[in-house]
Symmetry: C2
Subunit: 468 residues, 2 copies
Amino acid sequence: MEYMKEEDFSVWYHKVLEEAGIVDLRYPVKGMVIYRKWGLYIIRQMQRFLEKMLEDAGHEPCQFPVLISEEVLGKETEHIAGFEEQVFWVTHAGKNPLERRLALRPTSETPMYESFALWIRSHTDLPLKVHQSVAVYRYETKHTRPLIRGREFLWNEGHAAHATEEGAAGNVEDIKRIYGSLISELLCLPYVIDKRPDWDKFPGAEATYAFDTLMPDGKTLQIATAHNLGQNFSKVFGIQYETADGKKEYAWQSSYGPSFGRLLAALISIHGDEKGLVLPPELAPIQAVVIPILFKKTEQENKEILDYVKAVEEKLISVGIRVTSDCGNQHPGEKYYHWEMLGVPLRIEVGPRDLKAGKVTVARRDTRSKSEMPFDELVNLAKLFDEISGSMRKKAEEKFKSGLYKAGNLNEVNSLLGKGIVSTGWCEGKECAGKIEETASILSIGGSQAACCVCGKQGREIRAAKTY
Amino acid sequence: MEYMKEEDFSVWYHKVLEEAGIVDLRYPVKGMVIYRKWGLYIIRQMQRFLEKMLEDAGHEPCQFPVLISEEVLGKETEHIAGFEEQVFWVTHAGKNPLERRLALRPTSETPMYESFALWIRSHTDLPLKVHQSVAVYRYETKHTRPLIRGREFLWNEGHAAHATEEGAAGNVEDIKRIYGSLISELLCLPYVIDKRPDWDKFPGAEATYAFDTLMPDGKTLQIATAHNLGQNFSKVFGIQYETADGKKEYAWQSSYGPSFGRLLAALISIHGDEKGLVLPPELAPIQAVVIPILFKKTEQENKEILDYVKAVEEKLISVGIRVTSDCGNQHPGEKYYHWEMLGVPLRIEVGPRDLKAGKVTVARRDTRSKSEMPFDELVNLAKLFDEISGSMRKKAEEKFKSGLYKAGNLNEVNSLLGKGIVSTGWCEGKECAGKIEETASILSIGGSQAACCVCGKQGREIRAAKTY
């Protein structure tokens, strides 16, 4: 989407969520939505891509229960302090109170690390890397927004223990690469990795790296995070291993997760246009739809066209393309509207002239350009998909870059908020941070020097923005 | 497994769950287990097979929130009466009580049908068929058993609304066929469909059909159910559609679900042997493992064998077989133990003699027979997989049939309980049912006539067994 005002964007976003069958917002529990067909198909594609990359890199799947005992959740004090306002508590079963109340997982560090302490004995058990794709629960008190901030959200969370500090740091780098592939290769979305300031770290972490992208209303959206946990949790949970020479050491840990809901929100918002979704071909659950153009001159001609549609569909299936045909009774215009709303990358129109000339007419969803293609070239459609992905990625990156600003003083910073990400300076003083954060969030504190946008003293470069 | 005493079976079952990496039972919340790698890989295979069949048959995926408002859950009186003892209640968020408590879904009829009433307007919206693969929560007070009876379990649940009674009945038949494929084709397991007696129906259903299989200790295990719901729920939730001639009618509904945990428990128990799991090839996450037999005579010879292992692996990958190789430093015997425990259908041994003769040695997990195969025939391994599946299915069916008994009186019934499924008669009197159910469960009431095993009066044929 081109830059949009917050209200206009919100209206458009809700319309697409409904018309494309992403989620139904009418569920009678606040902050929770019903995922519908098209939303789930897209999430399924993301999830399979991510899980394959994680498993190829040595992560094992696991699935922990949704309920966590209060004792386990409370073991790491910073961690529980960060989440205690947000935890849903199960206190009763049937008509009776439980002996001890149970938490719906807000994240799974604590129950997993309780198990890590049982699973890890020796240096030969390391590294241990696991992941799970589940829903997590946080009682958000801020304004909830579908897919962006909800009280139930779908994600994948990964957790690792390494023998050394370098091992854990290397794993965080691996994860940056894996999430980078998911976001940039599969979803064709731009992002920047921000090392969060200390006051905005994950509770219990040494360092938090966040993947931020930029929404059409100029606010950033955090779509994934990776945390270096040091030995904080391993010391609390007793995750020790025996080294090759018989000493006991605490493991070094990391945890990380992308939000499928937020990735989907970014995908919809950044690539979408006034006709609805625009999906990158590798991700799209359906990559091409074949639509017959029937003039109903004669039954015979119609039959020939429908046979031709079938032949086109079969040819595409034979080269592994996810294709469907839409031979219903609606007017082609209605069909176009529907498949454009769903963001299917290619529409292949097949009419009498196409049949006669042994060709098809191909309409691209991203550029809306039409071209003709001989039937025999359909087998090379994957090349066109690469071109589409490349072009979508490039367009989104250019948009993203045009939303990167520099500002010298707080007035300038404030005038740019809501337009994109603003680089400026900060003296590292608490008071000045407070002034900046009256209107913006500090996304990251960089290494280079820059004058503080509040007091003018020499300080460090920061990135600031309005955030979701 | 051959017939086993209950205690012996239980010891074996727990050993396999642990050693094959199916679940970890040490999770500190009663009735909840941690799913581990191998268990999840198998469930993933089942889930993808089932979801594909459901979606090919017109079911759409959806995912509803885990939390249900008390008002919605309580709308259908029989239904809530059936579940109220089993519901986990969320009463607090953060430090504050919720205005209205929320239930963890024990099953999803009520929240889904609240939405069905919004989604269905006209006969053209029907049939509506949706499914979701999620965890559900029931506070079981009976003895919990891993994968078999837990307080959190993984399943797929399907829900449908049809315009006519026949439509709903036809859908239940479709589901019987789909679940039949899952159980018999993919898992190679025997089952019988039992129409449950009225007192054992799903709460709110007109009729419940259960898929029962027989475990090695002679008890039946219900692995899936399908319910004809009639118009009970549609009347309560106001699921009405407008007919072609403008009248308002209530929809006819059905709901159904297999338990992935119980399917996995049956798979492990029925096909397994003293060396661990035995997996049917179509289901197995890894279908073949290639193991080098190295004599360490010369580095050169070892290298040649390892190259040959690689060539075997690549050949199998090229024909779509899920294969891995195990070239670690352990003794081949240790490797055999490991891959046999996991139930991988074929072990392919590659030693100096195999290399020289351009062949491999193939060991079947199910029969433990070994044979030699020329390298070039590896591309036809799929044929051997069919043979293995067929043979596993046949063996399990024969075992199942040998557990089907007939009994004339209650003494006979009781003497056969714990050995299998007993056909006998019942007069349809409450008192006699009570006597039978002192020791057994009545699985189904059939159509044929038979003398009551308690009072001798002419009645109907029933099937009875000890059940999990």
